[in-house]
Amino acid sequence: MRLDAVYRRDPDIVFRKISGECILVPIRRRVGDLDNIYTLNETAARIWELIDGRRTLAEIRDALAAEFAVPVQEAERDLLEYLAALRACAAVKEGPA
């Protein structure tokens, strides 16, 4: 993945914060099966917010490193790992919003 790439969230997946739990709720047909729910940890929830179709991956990485006070390399590794998981379930797509 190129770090100058921009990703956007699938509009058919809604982020909700319920009783302190951050979750992704699929709302449209292809993702409507609720056998399983995805709950996000704090980092993942922040990455989901930052994937806004405007920021590049490099900008998101730098924001994470600053906010969580971790080295840039660590933030980059986590970002790319999570993004790969989100791409695998088609929750994000490359390109601006």
């Binding site: 809604v14 982020f15 909700r16 914060k17 319920i18 009783s19 302190g20 739990e21 979750i23 992704l24 709720v25 709302i27 449209r28 047909r29 409507g32 099966d33 609720l34 056998d35 399983n36 729910i37 995805y38 709950t39 996000l40 940890n41 704090e42 980092t43 993942a44 990455i47 994470l64 969580f68 971790v70 660590e74 933030a75 986590d78 790992e81 999570y82 998981a85």
Partner: protein, 380 residues
Amino acid sequence: MAHSFFSETTYSDFSASVHDKAVAQGLPVAAEIELTRHCNLRCGHCYNGPPKKEREMTTDQIRRLLDAMAEAGCLWVLLTGGEPLLRSDFPQIYLYAKKKGFIVSLFTNATLVTPQIADLLKEWPPFRVEVSLYGASRKVYEKVTGVAGCHAKCLKGIEMLRERNVSMELKTLVTKDNKGEIAQIQRFARERGLHHRFDAYINPRLDGSREPCRLRLTPEEVVALDLSSPARCDTWRQIYKDAWGAKIDLDHVYACTSNQWSFFVSAAGRMQACLMLPQPSCDVLRRPFLASWRELVRAVQGLKPANPGHKCYHCEMSALCYHCPAWAALENGDPESAVDFVCRSAHLRHHVFLEKGIIAKGGERYAEQDQANIPEADVV
């Protein structure tokens, strides 16, 4: 940073965890919204009674309510009525709720399902649609619902949803008029791969009329209906076993925990603890949502038993009983009273279940029951 970014948890585990937290933190995570009191059917057993002229929430008011609920962390929304599909703005309301990220369910009689509604539910799937099916035959269905021609519409509606694989369950309120068709309704459901449930508990009308009560089964018929379903007997057995020795709540008239995590909004925009409990209530359209919720919980939780010695609080059959203080208030004007029909059904259930070895005193089961040993139905 943590490396386990997101975890996949089963829906039931997630739901249980959220409900536990909601009770502990006093959060409104689940709602029932009555979109209208009007209905196209005229069921004699209905708690709503004949339609009245009443101001109902507008589309915009419902949208604003959903906004506030989402903001407050509500996740589950049930859209109900009356018949919610009577509202011409149902598609807009439904889609709005879906796009806010609510887990949406729908109660309907299915007679007003159109290809457009069915397509909407296919494209934007509800968590579940629950369809009331009041009879297997046209004659019985239309005797219960009081409207000619609606049986065919109901079946067509069910079929349209089924063709589109919309998550759906069937349910039946058993009355004197349809008690003979429960087995046929169950067969109808089974043949279509649909889950079906039933109960025989008819409430008085919310306006106080006891007219629906004349359609109740006898306690003997209610218990025979239990015995007709091995799964139902097993559920009762488990409930009875689990409840044995549980602490009696003498601090609250309304001891059920649901009023600590769920609420009902009437078609006119009044927030209540549940449908059956019209008071206390508050106008959720005019007041901030969370303030209304907190005020309501405080008011309901603040109702203390005036008669802690009342038999229902200490009854060893309470786990086999549908006793509900809101129902008692509706039936007798006193939440701390017994509803005779419910009470007699519970006593008989207790007696028969003990006799047949389905339950044992002390909550322990007798020898493991083979399901085949549970008697077949003799209701009708």
